[in-house]
Symmetry: C2
Subunit: 292 residues, 2 copies
């Protein structure tokens, strides 16, 4: 099982390091990646292990993160509802989605007991309108106090009262997702937003793309920040090429891209096939895939 919690802290190194150390100390867990972004003010942790070990690690992780991160002080470019904003469980090779859903629901009860409202999303959602993460996060932390008073905002677990320090926690189960951002050589946020709308599913773009435009003030660029929710349907290269093509109409170059967290080897298959015209390439052509 893989778990990829997103925490609303990407600036204070010592907080991120303390949470990473906690994960490294849990037996049976391998912390694979920690990606912080100061503009987003957000850190994504990626770790794997047997389901029970992952669940235990995540409980300890959430408890400490709620201590360390204070949402009343949080600012950042990425939408968020709480200190431990999103916790997805991802079944790896040979595991069933139902096991990930089970982990999500069990963690939800534990977080609820910590006094934090919990929403379940995607495969762990208890109702269809909670499947989509963007919908669950609508109104963000700033709108949460009011939202909790509405029947449509009632949490799936935990108190329906506003917890100013921790906000709410969105817990779910999903297929492997690729968090992929493309940076544009301009400070014009409007261009990033137009391109985000062009490539994302919700406004007519690719089936498996969620996207938004974000300012990266530190780098003096804007970014198309994306989740690629199914790289078998919508491969990375097709999205990158569409962004290059749309950016060109504004005379804006793509200056770089970034992968937040990790990606499965298989996600590179189509990238290599397309750019190298290596029509019959697959992960099976990579030595390491045979040594697993």
């Amino acid at each position: 099982m893989e778990c990829v919690p997103n925490v609303s802290e990407g600036r204070r190194r010592e907080t991120v390091e303390e949470l990473a150390s906690l994960l490294r100390a849990v037996p049976g867990i391998s912390l694979l990646d920690t990606s912080s972004d100061a503009d987003h003010n957000r850190t994504v942790f990626t770790y794997v292990g047997e389901p029970e070990a992952v669940l235990q690690a995540t409980e300890a992780f959430c408890r400490r993160a709620f201590d360390l991160v204070d949402m009343t002080l949080h600012t950042g470019g990425h939408p968020r509802l709480g200190a431990v904003d999103v916790v997805p469980f991802v079944p790896l090779r040979g595991m069933e989605m139902t096991e990930a859903v089970d982990c999500a629901h069990r963690l939800g009860q534990i977080v609820a007991e910590m006094g934090v409202p919990v929403y379940f999303y995607e495969e762990a959602a208890l109702s269809p309108e909670r499947r989509n993460l963007a919908e669950v996060r609508r109104g963000e932390y700033e709108g949460l106090r009011e939202r909790l008073t509405e029947s449509s905002g009632r949490p799936d677990a935990g108190p329906a009262t506003f917890n100013p320090r921790s906000g709410a926690c969105i817990i779910g189960a999903r297929r492997p997702l690729i968090a992929f951002n493309v940076n544009l050589g301009t400070t014009d946020l409007d261009i990033a937003q137009r391109i985000a709308r062009a490539v994302r599913h919700s406004s007519g773009g690719f089936r498996a793309v969620k996207a938004m435009g974000v300012e990266l003030k530190e780098l003096n660029v804007v970014q198309v920040s994306m989740n690629l929710t199914d790289y078998t349907q919508t491969p990375i290269h097709r999205v990158v090429e569409a962004i290059r093509s749309e950016a060109a109409r504004y005379g804006v170059p793509v200056v770089g891209s970034e992968l937040v967290g990790l990606a499965p080897l298989e996600a590179l298959d189509e990238v290599v096939r397309y750019y190298l015209q290596l029509h019959d390439f697959s992960s099976a052509k990579i030595i390491e895939s045979h040594l697993l």
Copy 2:
């Protein structure tokens, strides 16, 4: 240890399958890939295992291949000196090159006892002029009878007499090599040869590229057939882009490419960095690299 013998048979399925079955039956060996090419009339087998197991498997493999492949009947587009044309040993993660050289020299003595002249190349070469495979193979099978009579053609092991059925066997040790071919949408062999000269080291091209132009009559195209001998110095994408650029001057398109055998995951690092502008990508971003 990896071993990647190249056998001068790429047309008769049953011969290739018999040799593959032999390898599959050796305990401690994993046959990772078998790539046959009918135009080259050549098959590349890729397998890994502990050094002793690899050496034993390769002995049995050579013995059977010498039985099955008759060089007096061989035609094909790829240069070759014998039935078991080239046998490279490749040290994998954490192994020393000296271990691969040791395997090469031990196999050489065994093949010599089978009555086949042996040349050692690259890291296993006994003299500088034998390091380069193309030099060792100069004159090919057809010139071997005469070459064996010259002092410069004296084998490193085995008889200095011509073995018409098996030719000679070139055994060595080397770093991981990528056998990569690019197909051009033309039947004009001259264009493939010009492009091969443009990209290969020996005529002014990239440091770690060996290349030649080959006709693929079955597909009605020509091919730039290459060995990329060090993908850290000369990455795949740079060679592909240079070939596209040179082909364009003749109005010829690249119609596809192929990877013969396997490549290490690390060889994709620069490909992904370049085409996706994913400047800080590395294999460490791939989940599977952490599960090895």
